[in-house]
Amino acid sequence: MRLIKIFFTTILLFICLTAGAAPKVSEIVKKMDYLYEQIGDISVRVSIVQNKARQGVKNFGFLYFRRDKTDEFLIVAFAPDTEKGNGYLRVGENFWMYRQNTRTFQHISRDESILGTNAKGGDFEKRKLSDLYKPFTDSGGSEIIAEEMLGKREVYKFTLIAKVNDVTYPKQVYWVQKENYLTLKMQSYSLSDTLMQTAYFPKWTQIEGKYIWIQAIFIDEFEKGNKSIVDLSGISTKQLDPKIFTKAYLENLSK
């Protein structure tokens, strides 16, 4: 009887102690991957307002279609006028850029800029955060996580470092809302550990149980005064026609 009492007391004590403790970073990352992962098809209208110091404001807009099952995506620009009709098509390992004025497709690499913005082809690929980054640990090998307030919201703050060498930023610091694991703020660091970019994700939406941010603000910390605001609208997860992910469709859409 005494042993049973000790056993239950220990269990109760363990529950009480761990109830308020922060989860492990790797668990949060897995959770984030699960919550943000879109399975199936998605189409979205993307608007980017890019403000560059001494260069003024530029508006970019494109339609983005993605099919995860076959690892395909298509981007077609509608703004600015100089980019209108230009597009990008990714089917498996092949990635083409389409130029409307010459009506030609050109093979490009995932490192190339999309429509002259800071976004790269690789940014539109479906890659899990946990495949790219791992938690930053202290000298004892323990994951470092902190609980703090970001404005009025309770967040977990943790650092991730790159597992692979083909990510743009080798180190990222996340502020993730405790309540629902949504990223509210992210800071990206260069190889020499200099803060290069701060991103805010103030608006999210939930579609079929999965979360998608609908507004993001990217602040260039290296070149002060540069800022980009990305807005997503018209998000649809309806099944897309397979013919969308073809060169012919992109050509027709660009006419």
């Binding site: 092949n94 060498n165 083909d166 990510v167 990206s188 070149e223």
Partner: protein, 583 residues
């Protein structure tokens, strides 16, 4: 002959005014010709030996990984430098070309720049010394200053920086990760043309480390020749080098380790294309397990012998380690045994077969020591049936001769998505095609203008001679009457023209040198694209003895040919007809 020359000279002096004007016209023509040719040669020299050589080298070796034209990495630079130095003729220099596009921020504003890695060798230091505006070159070479940078005065002005100021730079590493660095201004240089102003120099060693290259790796190898006067030289040597760079099978020799036991083993990569897989199916039989998937990583096929040695079964794990060629390091990888294979001829060896992805991931990042030095290593022979299946050290791109052909070649390469290194041997005729086209166009314009000018002058010479013959018809009659032969009359008129042309051309050459000297005194401050044609902001003339002598002889021959017909007409006159001639 001496008499004819004496008579010719006397006749020239007799009609001083007319010959003076004609001589001035020829002198002017020769001056323009020498100027145009010297400018054209100066232009070629500037573009080929000062511009093209920095953009693309006269010849270059480029390797691109993952079928990405921008992912330029030569993993074993020494190997290629040795091949070039021991086989290519007339080399002035072989150097590592590493340059990154960067966003740089100074005190006043941000700008784009190309950060170029340079070794502080004698040539470079001499160049820096000649163009130094402010700073201390010792800061660049001593190692006492962290990330010293040398930039041109216009860029320094744009960024608002001076000696000892700092510049923040952002650029991408070879794997496209963001890198940022603080550069310390060690010196500011005077630029000689617009092309140079984009460049900022940092120590090659520092830049390699910043972009993620190891000491034995580099971006591309550029080769310059001792003055490119014959354009065919670079092409000829490139064809020769291309033939020498035929790749062999890429082999890793190391040891397989399992449960505290180790055994020598060779690791090879196999190609995943349909043709290679069909050869594999024909010559390799799987005793258990399955072929690793195309996109899988760290899965291996193990030979029957190695599997028996370690009592391995499909699904087991095996460690494979090998010595790296450089830095005295050992690489250790762990693979899952996807299958055990048997193949006639190689199954009695300890062999590990890796797919393209897994093989090049380790082979390129941790270059193995030369397996051919080890007797126990399995190096496939060219006659072996499986030879085409094994992954090569690199794939050689075909030689191309124009920029357009090179673009098509790059497009085809990108389509392949092959993970290994593609090697390309280029000359300036592909890499810096636009510069050479500019040079050709400018030369053509100059040549056409000079040709038109000379045509006009020669018409003048022809007309003057016809007038002379007409005026001197009675004189011809007198000379013929006192016994001068027809041929002598002909030679007399030709000699007069040749003498006049020879003297006028010498004057023209002297005058052209004076004009070149005077034009060279003026500084041209232009930021237009044409400033790349200037040297130290001055027009660059390069007169050569051979070209001047060649043109001198050509003009004299042309003058003689022009004089021939009026002279023949004069010589054909009979003494009686000539003496009876009245105006």
């Amino acid at each position: 002959m001496r008499l004819i020359l004496a008579l010719s000279l006397r006749n020239l002096l007799r009609q001083k005014r007319r010959n003076l004007f004609l001589g001035i016209a020829i002198c002017f023509g020769m001056m323009i010709l020498v100027l145009a040719i010297s400018f054209s040669q100066g232009l070629t020299d500037t573009l080929l030996n000062r511009v093209v050589v920095y953009i693309a080298g006269h010849m270059s070796i480029v390797t691109m990984e993952e079928s990405n034209k921008d992912r330029r990495i030569i993993r074993d630079k020494e190997k290629f430098i040795n091949i070039v130095k021991s086989n290519i003729k007339d080399i002035k220099k072989v150097w590592e070309s590493i340059g990154v596009f960067a966003r740089v921020i100074g005190n006043s504003r941000a700008d784009n720049a190309i950060i170029v890695g340079r070794v502080a060798d004698k040539d470079f230091l001499e160049y820096l010394g000649q163009n130094l505006v402010e700073g201390n070159l010792g800061d660049f070479t001593s190692g006492a200053v962290e990330n010293p940078v040398i930039l041109y005065s216009n860029k320094a002005k744009t960024l608002g920086v001076k000696y000892r100021d700092t510049i923040n730079a952002r650029f991408a590493t070879i794997t496209k990760q963001q890198q940022s660095v603080r550069l310390n201004v060690a010196a500011v240089l005077r630029s000689s043309n617009l092309f140079e102003e984009m460049a900022m120099f940092v120590n090659l060693k520092d830049l390699k480390s910043l972009v993620g290259l190891k000491p034995h790796e580099t971006g591309a190898l550029y080769i310059s020749f001792k003055r490119i006067n014959n354009p065919d030289h670079a092409i000829r040597e490139a064809i020769k080098l291309h033939k020498l760079l035929k790749p062999d099978v890429a082999v890793i020799y190391g040891e397989a380790v399992n449960k505290n036991r180790s055994s020598n083993a060779t690791a090879l990569g196999y190609a995943g294309d349909k043709e290679s897989l069909s050869i594999m199916n024909k010559h390799v039989s799987l005793l258990s397990g399955a072929m690793p998937a195309e996109k899988s990583e760290n899965e291996a096929l193990v030979s029957k012998n190695l599997a028996a040695d370690f009592k391995l079964r499909s699904g087991d794990r095996i460690t494979y380690r090998y010595k790296n060629k450089y830095e005295n390091l050992t690489t250790e990888n762990r693979y899952r045994v996807a299958g055990i294979f048997n193949s006639a001829g190689i199954s009695d060896r300890n062999i590990i077969l890796l797919n393209e992805r897994s093989f090049y991931k380790t082979y390129l990042q941790n270059l193995p020591a030369d397996a051919r030095k080890y007797k126990q290593a399995y190096v496939p022979l060219r006659r072996s049936a499986l030879y085409p299946v094994f992954e090569p050290e690199w794939k050689l791109l075909p030689r191309t001769s124009t920029f357009e052909a090179m673009q098509l070649k790059m497009r085809d390469m990108t389509k392949t998505k092959w993970k290994g290194p593609w090697l390309d041997v280029r000359t300036m005729y592909e890499s810096a095609d636009f510069i050479l086209k500019l040079e050709y166009a400018l030369k053509l314009v100059a040549f056409t203008a000079v040709l038109i000018l000379f045509f006009i002058i020669l018409i003048g010479v022809l007309n003057t001679l016809r007038m002379t013959v007409r005026e001197r018809t009675r004189e011809i009659g007198t000379m013929r009457a006192i016994g001068m032969q027809r041929t002598d009359v002909k030679y007399l008129f030709i000699a007069e023209t040749v003498l006049l042309t020879a003297i006028a051309c010498v004057a023209g050459i002297i005058l052209s040198f004076i004009v070149m000297w005077v034009l060279g005194l003026f500084t041209i401050n232009t930021d237009s694209v044409l400033s790349i044609l200037l040297v130290n902001r001055r027009l660059h003339f390069l007169p050569t003895a051979a070209s001047i002598a060649g043109n001198y002889i050509l003009i004299i021959l042309m003058a003689a040919a022009t004089a021939y017909f009026p002279a023949r007409r004069a010589s054909n006159l009979s003494a009686v007809t000539a003496l009876g001639h009245f105006e």
